[in-house]
Structure formats: structure tokens, C-alpha cells
Point group: C2
Chain length 289, copies 2
Amino acid sequence: MPSVPIQYGELPNVPVGATFANRRALHAAGVHRPLQAGIDFAPGQAAASVVLSGVYPDDDHGDAVDYTGQGGLEPGTSRAIADQKLVLGNAALIRNRNWGVPVRVIRKVGGVFRYDGLYSVDEFRRERYASDGFLRCRYGLSALTRSAPWVARDQATEPLRVEQTVLRIVRDTAVTREVKRLYEFTCQMCRIVLPTPVAPYAEAAHIKPLGGRHHGRDALDNVLCLCPNDHVLFDWGAITVLPESLTITGEAVLEGRQLLTVPAHHIDLMNFDYHREAIFVPIVDRVDR
Amino acid sequence: MPSVPIQYGELPNVPVGATFANRRALHAAGVHRPLQAGIDFAPGQAAASVVLSGVYPDDDHGDAVDYTGQGGLEPGTSRAIADQKLVLGNAALIRNRNWGVPVRVIRKVGGVFRYDGLYSVDEFRRERYASDGFLRCRYGLSALTRSAPWVARDQATEPLRVEQTVLRIVRDTAVTREVKRLYEFTCQMCRIVLPTPVAPYAEAAHIKPLGGRHHGRDALDNVLCLCPNDHVLFDWGAITVLPESLTITGEAVLEGRQLLTVPAHHIDLMNFDYHREAIFVPIVDRVDR
């Protein structure tokens, strides 16, 4: 690790748009410390910054970036020879999502490196490239609004403190209402019904997530009725459902339990295939360095 | 209940700003069916509309309304003689919040009734008025943006279907990070640690909620480290903590359990007093008609 201490959030004297001649200058300013790696992080902590390599230009849409993790390449080349693992910087970026910690984004533009502001890490998925058959770690980043700048408080001692970053948003749609009605707010995994006053509470979890990158549908065959705890475990890849048997796998308490289903709820089992590959993190891949 | 069927969301041929000569005209148009009551709802369902009475003008800030529930008055007068209960329209408005169903807001302006658009029910609290000592049910309403109109799908058969209303937002702040660190992501109520890959997951719950109406502080002495399930139960008044003994009350599974605490976490016990009165719904008040 570089000797310059890691710093999160906006940096004093580094306005959005500031440029740096090379990686050494980025390092000296504390904007991005590694001289080669694309992800700056501290062990067990979130990432502080990423440099967009330009290797995947189609993934950079300005305010929305689909960032590819590190690793899996033949040394000295850009040829993939293995799956990317959830270790080092790849694991750090998961913590950004889990904890709501934004990253600085640096782009190489016209031969110099430009600081382009803070981005939230909204999404993580694993994607198998058809071209070579190897899994990449992919992260959906989106630019934070300039009107609410994020500044880490008291950086020296508590680098990870976060200001008002939205961490999880639970929405309610026609389809999610319907699945809750079918199961009468019972969690299909642990069978709990949360007894809040006046009406019980449950959440609808999309198996293949909604949105442009996952292309999941907001349809009854793509949602489960879950309690908030199991919704978090499912969305963040701690557990998945094996489509052949509808058994839950990945986490001790629920391991081997069968998903509760009612006849009126037809689930498209292909969505579980997608979840298992793209969202679920097998226990063997949960090495945390 | 009126014979006109209840309808949720925007109504065809009733644009925002449409005016009606009197309550009977509102009724005939299906905009607000009761001729006297301020809340239109169906038994066991959410509310469809509210009429701002003008009795509490200070509570109407245009796009943000602090709505007062029904009941507790001496018949034929506006004098409070009892606490308002969580029944009828008051219970229905809780379902609007829980299920993300917006209400139509109608204002009396210049002698006529004007439809002012859809509002989300963001917040519920019980408030004891110093003037007479009785509890009111209070609801924080906020105008939905015009750019994303809410329309109930297939109204006739499924009146409660909802389009993309944000239901819960979990934020992460400096203080909430700190309380999670203190408890190492262990729920102070049920002791679970949710084992998501790379890093465990927990949420920080403000005891006295943040925001203008509650005036709670984002400070360590006002937050708990909870799992998502217990966070929902706590925020929505199913459970509370008795400050004298730190025991949990209100819900069978947790009833009588003591809150987990560590010496470094000083909690301002006054916040539990506030939660018990304003947020918690005692079991005796959970009559659901």
C-alpha cells in the first residue's frame, strides 16, 4: 500500500475537473494512490477512488458508469484467463455499496487524468463474458448530484463516515403488491409475518433485478415475497434459490429450506439461474482480504 | 359507506386544479365520497382521498401537509374530549404509508373544493396537544411530482395497485456508521448479524426520528443498531423500548427481551419516551376496523 494515507470523499483543493499529468501526480495529491491498480482501497474497508481505464469505453456513459473489477488477466496482457474474484479492490467496492460510501472517479482524457467527482456504487453483479467464458465483477456507478456534496467528516481518524447517502430504496409497485397479497405478507424463505400495527409488512424482491443492466421484468413471475432481512440477503448475494428443487442455499440458517410457494404464483425459473450466476456469491468466493 | 365505488389515484377527467361546488359534487365525481368525513377509505384498505378542513391552517404548507386524523371530538363541536384512535380513516392512512399508496388531496379554497393532486403519506405520529392533553393522529403528506403521475392500474378490480412509489429509504450517515461499528453489525434487539458477502449488514434506527416534525437528532445517543426486520417494527410502532429497564415491549417474539448495549454507547433515554408516545402503537390501540 502507498504511504500516502487513504482519504474518502471530496478532497480539499481538488475541485471537480482538476487535472493531473500522470499517475504519480494523482498519487502525490492523494486522489488515487496506486500507480497501476484501478481501485484505491484499504484492507477491510471501502474503496476511495477508481480510475476508468478506457479499456471498456462502451461502459462509460458519463453520469452512469458500468465499472469492471480487477484481476483474472494474464500478467502483462489484457487477456482474461480466469474468473475475477471478490477479493482486494473488488471486495472493497462491494463495501461501498453496502455502506453507502461513494468513490472518486478519475478519467483519462486527452493524455491527462481528470477528477470527475463522486459516484455512488449502486449495484454489483457478476457477468460471464460470452467472448471468453470468464466471470467479471461489474459495478453500477452513478454520479452524485453536485448540489449535495459528500464530504467525509473527520477524515484522519474516521475515514469512512458518510453523509446522507441513500443506501437502500424499497419500492412498491402493482406487481409487488400482488405477490404480497398472494402470500399474505408471509416471507417465502423464513415464513415470518412482520406484525406492524394496522397491517403486516413484507417486501417484494425481484429475482432478476430491474433496471437497464440486469433487464429483469417487473412481473409476478420475477418477484418473491420476503421479509426485509431475507430481502437483503437475497439482493446482496448471500443466498440464492436452486431452481430444480426450490431449496435455499448459501446461508446457514436458511440452508436447505424450501421456498414457500402457492399454486397461483408462477415463477420463471430462468430468473433463479440468472440470480445464481450474476448476484449470488458462492461461499468459496467470499474470501475477504 | 357511499354507494359510489372507491377509486385510488388520479381519476380520468379530473385534472389537478379541478373545482367542485360542494361535498355532494365531490361525491358524485368519485373524488371524495363521504359528505362529512375528511378521509375516504374502504374497510381494511388504504385511504383514497382527504379533505383539508382548514381547521388547522398552520399545518398546510402547500406541498407539505401535516394532516390531523379524525375522531376524539365532542359531537357537533371541534372540542377534543378523547384521544384519537387508530381506527377507520386513521388506520387507513397508516396503510397508505405502509403500502406506498398516495391519497388525493382536496382543499377548500374560496368557497369551493379544489383537487390539488396526489400526495404520499410519508410519516405517522401520535401527538399529545398541550392545550387539552389529548393525542392526535398526525400524518406527514408530501406532494408527488407531477412528472411521474400515479395511476392505479385496473382500478375496478385491483384498486390498490401502486406504481413506483418509494416505500422505505434507508440512509447511511456518520452516526449510523458509528453505531454499527460499536455493535459489529449485531442487532440490539434480536442479536442477529446478517452475513452478506464481504461485509455484514445492519441498519441504524433513529429512536426519535429525524426531520422537521419530529426534531430528532442524528447523534449517537439517538440511534440503535438493528436488523432490517426489527428496524421496520421499531419505525412503524410495533415495538418500543421501556427506558427504565431497556426491555422491549409490544411484539410477542421480542417481548420482555432486554436491549443489547455496550458501555461506549450512551443513549439519551428521553428519546425512548418520545418513541413510546409518538411512534409506538400500544396493542390496545391496534383495533383494526
